[in-house]
């Protein structure tokens, strides 16, 4: 169970292998890796900079992670989120969940990424040919997070 906020890159394979090896009761490890795309809407992206709120970020991610552990049977879970300047193709965020069965691992992983997209205090500024611009929050992200508010 861990949350990390860092400038440095991370290694999804290392985290998946470490998590799977920790406990012989684990049957399923699910991972989500988010990458910088070179197309956001119509404009080509040169790079983006992720600003965050040090202190609050870690707290929100820990809160989201505790919520996932309360809702699903998880043997382990991990959130790693980078900040700073990132170029297209670079990894931004990693969520890994491990459980005895795939249902819990899939649901919790999806919950974590949906929820952190609307709760974790990160802001993306994109560098385009027309200058820099702040990325607006997507309504689809709000809807994705809201479905976890409904029972069942």
């Amino acid at each position: 169970m861990a949350v990390r906020v860092q400038r440095e890159d991370f290694d999804p394979g290392h985290e998946i292998a470490r998590m799977g090896a920790a406990d012989r009761g684990i049957g399923a490890v699910v991972s989500f890796t988010g990458l910088v795309r070179d197309l956001a809407g119509e404009a080509a992206i040169g790079a983006m900079t992720l600003e965050h709120y040090p202190g609050m970020t870690e707290k929100e991610l820990a809160r989201v992670e505790a919520e996932a552990r309360a809702r699903w049977r998880l043997a382990d879970c991990l959130i790693v989120h980078r900040h700073g300047r990132l170029e297209p193709g670079e990894r931004i965020v990693l969520v890994v969940t491990a459980s005895a069965h795939r249902d819990d691992a899939f649901e919790a992983c999806r919950f974590l990424i949906d929820w952190l997209k609307t709760r974790a205090p990160f802001w993306k500024q994109e560098e385009t040919g027309q200058g820099e611009r702040w990325v607006a929050a997507r309504e689809s992200d709000d809807r994705a997070a809201e479905r976890w508010l409904k029972p069942g």
Binding site: Y53, K59, H81, I92, V93, P121, W123, K124, W134
Partner: protein, 83 residues
């Protein structure tokens, strides 16, 4: 009271944080926004459309009717776009 500004609010206001002492005469976040808007054009621009602004008190997301006190850390930012 410690105030923090992020993303385009930080850019419009021209700084990322400031300490205001004595604390502003505001009982809640909404009153604090009104008080800040009167401080200058940068603040007025940052808070021109409060629907685009989110707030946290002591690093917890809150609504604008949340109470605030002198020792609080209050942050303003746009809707988050991480992940």
């Amino acid at each position: 009271m410690k105030l923090l500004y992020f993303a385009w609010l930080r850019q419009r206001i021209g700084k990322g944080e400031e300490d205001i002492a004595p604390a502003p005469p505001a009982q809640n976040v909404a009153e604090l926004i009104d008080w800040l808007k009167a401080r200058g054009p940068g603040y007025a621009a940052a808070f021109a459309d409060p629907k685009l602004v989110r707030a946290a008190v002591n690093q917890v997301h809150v609504k604008f009717d949340a109470p605030i006190a002198a020792g609080d850390e209050v942050a303003f930012f746009p809707p988050v776009t991480g992940g």
